[in-house]
Symmetry: C2
Subunit: 353 residues, 2 copies
């Protein structure tokens, strides 16, 4: 059978609690499909930062490079500013490995009551494709007149033809692959003067290569409102780094799945490893209690399986998650209204596989 | 009694249909409170642009300057690119008159079924305070390598100390004035490297001047999700130009009031006139049919009355809107599930005043 070398970065807080459950489920699905996973653990996090002054060793990226994929828990902890923890670990990985696609499902799951009314599983089922390496998340900019009344900060977003075209193409390819030939572009060309009209221009150019795919475009303000008012209208939504970030949290917010949503940071050409991680953070408030919901981490492992070409195994994991969630007698962690532990829920999903 | 000179800019599409209803209601509430309104009409819109090549005359801003307030309908029409119609009329007015506050209520209204479940009028009732003159909506930037593979577009957001501090202070003052001493700041300092950490820094500095006001801060991605999951937690939300734009559409999306939400573009010092306009656009799909819902325009007039210091008259208009909406036998336009005309609904609100 196939064998994969995985870099495991549990990170901070509940990352360390949910990760073992994802590995448990991977082992179970691997046994079923004759796939072997080898895990190498990396303990880089805010704790090691406090000791070493670095979020990862100087050769950290090189040490990750030779793995088939990276499975990450959560990064961030009170006392370490985000722009250190994230720009010292999470964001360099996304960029060094050219993980230019951030992919997140927005799906209403059985057994989860969403905050919106009158929707059933199947009604909401789409993907947000977010540009993940350039755009509004940049280190271009600076401050002038520090500490004076004239103080001023500039922050520059960069949109390259290459970076824009490839994320748009990914979205169109995904729509075809899913058999849902419909792509919605998030824009704000009525207010943001240079970058968003350019985004629209490239969207039109790439759309012309996919005449079989229906297109829509919405300004980000009304698009966010539509995520709430009519989420059933979407199939694939493509967006810049910032807009995609917003939409891929809002979507799971609408479906009530923000605590369990997964995300893939993908290098589609597989020249570099991709990273899979839950949308939730390190959750300092519940860390150490063993009650975190591991489904986001497990679902992230399922996305990883898809990316590795193990689509059947990936589908098995998603089906196991759905069957556990829709089974009233299955264990539920406190966020789902139950009293089960992280481990209980992980074991239930592994058993369902 | 008091008398006010108002500049009336119906603009495009349904702007021309809803505006007369707002004036009808203003006349009614004026008669009740002994206030006189004088209206000067300006026909600047996309139609005049097609003839004159300008969205407004060269001395347009000067011609508006001497009014007590500006009441605007909607700007934009198919065939005229947004960056012409908006940057040629709407945005120059906001900037020339230093309307640095964009203020929008997010309120669950009686008689309106929101897309979120288990919420009743009173549960959701807060204000979004958006910076309205700088930040991400800028004309700083440009394009290099046009038409080549190396093409690249830069877009720079500018945050000044002055611009940041004054919007934050406005939010804290508003929270005090409302007797709801709680302000939530929208940030994204974990991903946007220079501007958002600066925003956080100034938020902390201004918050220190208001020790009686409780503060929260959320990254824009999770904040959007929280607007859907727990909208009752907010009182005053303060945000940059782009984040505020998103939140002030998303909020009314959550309450089901996006078609009727108002907005104020305010120069708090009243050195310059302020502009009041509905959140909805010119609605080319229904324009000319006389069925547009005029409540957004009428509610905008109510916000204007507040700003002019006519708080009682403003409250009367809001109460009239609420009483018409909660009266099952009152006329309803098609968007509210009825068959009434714009005029029917406008007359009903005027009568309720
Ligand atoms: C039309 C557009 C430029 C405008 C904005 O984003 O400011 C609108 O969306 C608004 O919110 O008033
Ligand atoms: C932690 C943060 C930098 C990150 C982002 O915004 O990219 C997170 O919100 C995400 O969406 O993965």
């Amino acid at each position: 059978g196939q064998s994969y070398e995985l870099a495991i970065l549990p990170g901070d807080g509940i990352g360390n609690e949910v990760m073992p459950e994802a590995l448990r489920v991977l082992d179970a699905v691997g046994a079923k499909h004759g796939i072997r996973f080898r895990y190498r653990n990396f303990d880089w996090n805010c704790e090691t930062y406090k000791i070493t002054g670095r979020m990862m060793p100087e050769d950290g990226l090189d040490r990750l490079r030779d793995h088939d994929s990276i499975l990450l828990g959560a990064v961030g902890w009170p006392g370490v500013p985000d722009h250190i923890s994230l720009w010292g670990l999470l964001l360099p990985i996304r960029r060094a490995f050219d993980q230019y696609v951030n992919l997140r499902p927005v799906r209403l799951l059985p057994g989860v009551t969403p905050p919106v009314r009158d929707k059933a599983p199947g009604d909401i089922d789409f993907w947000v494709v977010r540009e993940n390496t350039e755009g509004e998340y940049s280190q271009l900019g600076g401050r002038q007149g520090e500490g004076t009344e004239n103080e001023m900060v500039l922050q520059t977003a960069a949109f390259t033809r290459r970076g824009t075209d490839r994320i748009l193409r990914y979205a169109f390819e995904l729509a075809r692959r899913l058999g849902k030939p419909h792509v919605t572009s998030a824009t704000k060309s009525n207010g943001i003067y240079y970058s968003m009209p350019y985004w629209d221009e490239r969207f039109a150019a790439i759309a012309a290569e996919y005449p079989d795919v229906r297109v829509d475009q919405d300004h980000i303000d009304i698009l966010c409102a539509r995520f709430v008012m009519s989420p059933e209208r979407f199939d694939v939504v493509v967006a810049s780094n910032l807009f995609g970030d917003i939409l891929s949290d809002l979507g799971p917010g609408v479906t009530g799945t923000i605590g369990v949503a997964p995300s893939g940071n993908i290098n589609p050409e597989r020249v570099h490893p991709s990273t899979f991680e839950p949308v939730h953070g390190s959750a300092p408030d519940i860390a150490g209690k063993g009650i975190a919901n591991p489904i986001g981490q497990i679902w992230s492992a399922a996305l990883m399986l898809d990316h590795l070409g193990e689509a059947e195994a990936g589908a098995d994991v998603v089906a196991a998650i759905e069957s556990v969630l829709s089974d009233d007698s299955a264990p539920r962690t406190p966020d789902l209204g139950g009293t089960a532990s992280t481990e209980d829920l992980g074991k239930a999903v592994a058993a369902a596989v």
